[in-house]
Every structure is written in C-alpha cells, then in structure tokens.
Amino acid sequence: MAFHLSNMGTVNACKQCAPLGACIAFKGIEGALPMLHGSQGCATYIRRYVISHFREPMDIASSNFSEETTIFGGNRNFNTGIDNIISQYHPKVIAIASTCLSETIGEDVQRLIYEYQMTHNDSSLPKMIFASTPSYQGTHYEGFHEAVFAAVKVLAGTGETPGKPVNLFSNFISPEDIRHLKEIIADFGIDAMIFPDYSDTLDSTSWKTYFRIPEGGTPIEVLKRSGMANVSVELGYILNAGGRNGRIKNNAIIQSAGEYLQSKFNVVCRRTGLPVGIEETDRFFHLLAEISGKPVPEKYLRQRGRLVDLYIDGHKYVSGKKAVIYGEEDRVIALAAFAAEIGMKPVLCATGGESGQLQETLRKVLGDLYPENAVVGQGMSFEQIAAAIREQDLKPDLLIGNSKGYYIARELNVPLIRTGFPIHDRIGAQHIKTLGYEGTSLLFEQTVNSLLEDQQRKSPVGYKYM
C-alpha cells in the first residue's frame, strides 16, 4: 500500500533543503568553493550540518543578503562575494547555488555571472557554475543532482584531445564508497571520470598545513571533456526526478547529467541502481563488463563468492525479520533490494522525496521479492514513519537509515543500522562502505551482528556462544 502525505506541514522532516545537496556535490569539483546566494544563515547552517557528518572542513561562502539586498537585488553583494572569495581562496571554480530567498525575489544568477565576467574580462577568473536550488522545490537529493547537472552543463564540451571514455555519475554516496568504485573500475581497466568525487575533499588526512580548499575532486579538465565520452553510467534510478514535485506546472525540464550529455553530445546514457546487495551489484558489474569488453575480474568473483558464503552463514538470523528503511529514494531502493534478497521483509520503505516513482521502481527492482503488503511512503517525515509503524502495527525488528531515525529505534527498542546521510551521532560516517560485494558484506555483517547483539542484550541468559 502507499502512504499519502498530509498537507499540514512537516514534523521531524526526513529531508534537508536543496542547497545542502548542491554544496556537497560541488565539493566533488577540484579547486571549487561553494557559494550560496542568499542569507548568511543558509551557508552556516549547512556548514554545521555537513561538518557534523563528514567531520571535515566545509567552507561555504554566502552573498549575505541584507534587507537592502532583498529589496534592491543582490548584484552588489554577489560581486563583493566573488571578489572576496577570489582574494581569500584563489579557487579554480566558484560553484554557486541559489536559495529560497534569492529565487523568490527573482535573482538572475546567470546574468550576474555574465556581468561579472564581462566587467572583469580576465582569463584567470575562476570558472563559475550555477545551480538553481530553491529550497521550496525538491529536497537535498534533488539539489545534489541539480548541481551535478549544472556542473556538466557549464563545463562539458568537445575538443581535440579526447577525454575519458566513460563518465561515472556516482550519486550521493560516502567517500569510502567513491574510493571503492574507483578501485572497481580501475580493476576493469576502465578509464573513467567519476563525478562528483569528494572522496578526498570530504575525507582527507590530518594536515601539516591548512588547505583553504582541500586537495582532490574531479578535475575541471576532465569534466570539460566529458562530452566526448562513449558512455555515461548513472547510479540510481530516480536521481533528481523529484525536483518536478511541488512545482505549479509540472512542465519543468529536469535532466540528469547523463541525459544532458546524451541529448547534447550523443554520449550513451546507461542507468543502474546503487550497487548494494548481490542482485544490484551483479547488474552493475555486468554493465562494467559490457562497457569494458572484459569479464568480471577474478578478485570480484571471489568477493561475490565470499558474500554468498556469508549470506548462508547469517541467513537464519535475518530470515523474516522486519525492516523499516528510509532515506533518499535511490538509497531506499538499494537497501530494500538488499533486505529482500537476504530474506528480510522491508515492511516500510519511506522517503522524504516526492518523485512519485518509488513504489513502481521498487516493484521493478525487487521483482518477485517485492512484498505486496509493504508500506511505501513518499514525502514522509519521521513522525509519519513513526505513525505508520504504530498504526499499521508493523512491529519492525530493525531500522535501516540515517541517524535521524534514532529516536524511533530507541522508542521501539530495536537496533538502527546507520547508513546514508546524515549520521550525526557516530564518528566515521565518511568511511561507511555499502557498495559492491565488499560493501554489502560489511552491511550484512553489521545487520546480522546488530540483531544478535540486540537479542543477546535482551536475553536473560546472554549466551556467549551461538
């Protein structure tokens, strides 16, 4: 059954606003500094929220709207902002996202960029990218993909020197997962652009000197040539489709980066889900085998074999266990596919996103493992998740999702498997690996062991042997 959202505001939202997602994606561009065109608070709140997850510096500039700016327009603040960013950070890219305020007063950021470039006619100016991310449209997830799209749209082109033959749009995943994807495609011998690559910028080492802009990120030169690739691979079925929601006319042209490159430069766009679980990871590996023309490397066949063996070791402890899964839509789909294939019941699949495609995609991806009686909810808040659990008498054995659902898990006295964004009550969120056979192994072990620990702790006997 599908759960319908109410129009009565939102209590304990299971989403953040679009500019947050944009800022994270922008951190995946080498030498970029994000700037928000709006009030100072947006930048500061988002910095705090992101720092608390990645535990890394996250500098975001703001054009710092005042009352005067709001009435007379943000032109002057925009220019001062760019000047000050350049003099303090010397960035290669200034990546700008709008906010609800600047969008509402009708700021034309493209024009502001153009005017700045005209008046400063200087070839050493940083590149400027703009993503339109009013927070009254979509969620942080759409903001992330809007920024990915915006970067490609501004930078991608063709040229004399060929670029990388493959573009991999890796979606909103952990830095550790980005590193794992890089390892996998390298093992296939594929030369690919991974974008956005914040695996270093949001997960760096301890420093000897302070980097105003941390090293790492997808190089602009590589992004520029992404129009010459043979194929783009996008991880995720839904991506920014939810950005259509909430618009008065449902006719906004929303494209993903892959779709754009296909329509503009004839780069074939292939889409597959986030590779979590054996089924979804198989799909991803088959796609890589097809693209590279090479068989799946022995290393991964072994990893897959060990994962199957691990599934067998643990299957009885998860069999029939009821899971509540929540987060961004593509993550929910990946986690539900994983839960279903290990014999758990995803009794509630919830997202704050509103693409309208969650249920249909789940049904397609899970196939015969799709539980017809599962509650699938879009546009859901944590209060609605809690209410659905209560009212439908779901009695879950565990929750899988970000740390904001902890209070529900605590109330129900069941384990929470922390994955996704944000994780604000643990360290190491940047190192959580869930992708590929290896990531799935870790996720499976954590799931089984959390259930065992829960059982052990609640048991009057507390066996230390099983």
């Binding site: 505001g9 939102t10 500061t44 303090q88 305020l101």
Partner: protein, 442 residues
Amino acid sequence: MLSGFLQERENQMLTKGKDTFDLVGGKPSQAGAVSQRACVFCGSRVVLYPIADALHLVHGPIGCASYTWDIRGALSSGPELHRKSFSTDLREKHVVFGGEKQLFQTLDTLIDQYKPQAAFVYSTCIVGVIGDDVQSVCRQMEKKKNIPVIPVMSEGFQGTKKDGYKIACDAMATLIGTDDSKAVSPVSINILGDFNLAGELWILNGYYQKLGVQVLASVTGDGRVKDIRNAHRAALNVVQCSGSMLHLAKTMKERYGIPFMKVSYFGIEDMSDALYEVAKFFRDETIMEKARQLVKDELTRLLPALEPYRLALQDKKAAIYVGGAFKAISLVKALRLIGVKTVIAGTQTGNTEDYRLLKAICDDGCILVDDSNPVELSEFVKQTGANLFIGGVKERPIAYKLGIGFCDHNHERKLALAGYEGMINFAKEVYETVTSPVWRFT
C-alpha cells in the same frame, strides 16, 4: 596590523600590546567572507528553543526547521516538545499564492495534536518577501485555541544573529505578565540566559536553593510557559549570556521595575561572584553567610582537584572563538586558572565595548578578532602555535586538521561546564584533549 586578509576587515582584528586602536564589533558580515555567524532566525531560534512545553513552528521551506531539529543540548525535566522539529514546509505554490492558509492549517492541526502551552511561529526569509501576514494568523489562532500564539519575526536577512536575540526577547516579553498564579517568595530571582545545556540550570538551581533564593522562572533553560508568564513577579533578574538576554532584562526593568545584574556562571571567580552579588542584592546576612559557606565548601573540594590539571596544562596556549564576548571573557579567566594562556580571543557577536573589556583581561600578544572565518582562524592558530581551540562545531575541523586539541563550548555540547562541577568538567576535557597521545602521529 595583521595582514593577508580581507582589507575591509582591518579594524576587526588586532594584536594586544601592538595595536592601539579599538576592535570594532557589530558590523554586518562581508559577502564572501565565510563568516562563522548564522542569521536572525538562528538567533531567535536558539534563545527560545529550550522552552519545552511550547510549539516551535518554523514558517518557511524545510531547511530552517531541518537544521535546527534537536541540536541543542538543552534538557527538560518534563515535556520535550522543544526537541521536535515543526515546519510549514512551504512549496512553490505557497511562494506564489501565499503561505497563510498553510500556516493556519498547520497551526490548527499541531496545536490540537500536541496541546502546547503556547506556540512560537518563526518567520523565515521568504515569508518576509511573499508578504504573509503572520501576525494576523497568530491572532486568529490565539482566539481559536485560547493559548498564546506568538509571531517571531525573524526573517534571516533582516540583520544579524544578535538582532534575532532581540526579536526573541520581544516575543517573550509578550508572554511575561500574563499570569499571576505561581507562589512567589520575596527572595526570588529569574535566571536569564542559561539554556540548561547538559543540565547546567539544575546545578545553578541547587546553589540558589542552598542560599534560600527561589528561582521563579528560567529564561529559557528547562523553560515553561507558565513560569515565563509569571516572571514579572520576581525581585531580581540575574542575566547570563547578556548578549542575548540583556534586552529582555531592560524591558522588564522598564515595565515592571525589576532590577537586573549581569553575571557569568563559568569559572570559579565568576561563579562565586554571581552568588555573592545575588546575596548582596537581598541585603540578608543569612543569605550571604550561606553563599560564603557554599563557596568555601566548593573551593575546598575543587581547588585540590584542579591542581593536577593545572600542572599538566601549564603554559599551554588556547584559541577561543565563541558566540558572545562575555563567554570569551569567562573562558580567558577559567583557562588562566588551569595554567592555560589565551593567545586568540574572538567572537561572532561582540560589540566594540565588549571588546574593550575582553582586551583588558587578555595578555599582550593575544590576537583579538571579531566575526572571523576559517581562513583567518587557521592562520592565527599557525602564527600563535595554539595547543587548544575552544569553539563550536564549525571550528572543530580547523583545530583537528591542524592537529591541536578542541573543546566544544557551543550549544550542542553534552557536558555541563557551568558552576563548580562544570569547572572540573572543563579542566578535565581540556586536559584530555590537549594531552592525548594521538597528537604524536600528526
């Protein structure tokens, strides 16, 4: 003059003993400066946040509510409505056609469902632009539900965080004086500007109880609507965090003739001074005697306990970057007590007068800075060779990336740092981070 930074900020940073000009505070942040400040909404939200039996509804798109959900360590001894995040979650259609109906319906539903003692409705940036008449909706709802429904006109762009404090104070002022049902002792105070982070208010309540002083209302730590409505009947307002609460204290003096005094509960000296000053106010020798006894008892216990930390931390250097100047001043003193010298002292919201006081208590060579940013702070840490940074979440990565200790003194913290037992906690935290063996690997 410190160089290499934004020129427009020249008079917002100085080195004591070298520069003779006054540090200028209270200026709006520069666009593109990457200020550590937040916005007007943030100022209002943090001040009102701990009122635990009120509904705090954020009128705007989802971000502002999402980022302020359950982030303060402000504890409640009873209801916990303040730990939920309520938003009208405005969409494009509301931006175009107006959000008043959405606000009305949301309030209507939530008040019925959660039965709060009052509701605060926070305006965010776009509400100010699309022209919703929030005040009128609040009035209608107040009549309909028979509870105070208070508009907090905190559009983010209308000033700084400090303006948000003032707006929150004005919102509370409309509550004060609307109830007379609490029993009040002639020896009663309101505590203004403690937010009961990690139960700090309860520590203070314990001290005042020992003195025989009634705490009538806490504004706003472990706050209750009824207490605040009765707050006009206290004999004295005791104000900590004066940056945020002085405005309310002044309003209450004007309206109800309640005198106020500024105190700090942080560090031994300031904590003891606070108790003595309150005792002095009531001109009652028994209260003063109890205060003396309390301070004596606490110090007898505390000073020997601090000694090992002082020895271990001798000559370590600290950087301070916090919200308000009074906290910074207390920190300089408290650090000095445990042998730590302050080499950087900065705040988000101090004013020029505050900085004169801060400068006076700092040592020569200390860098003072107003409304700083990561570029400056990281540079200062390098220049001064600080071993420890005291700040909030946004300053933490600066410290950690540069391989120095960090102590959270912001509103997210889960460790009580006020009062005498707070001083021990503070010394222990500073000691644990500064002397950790992990730094040998950096």
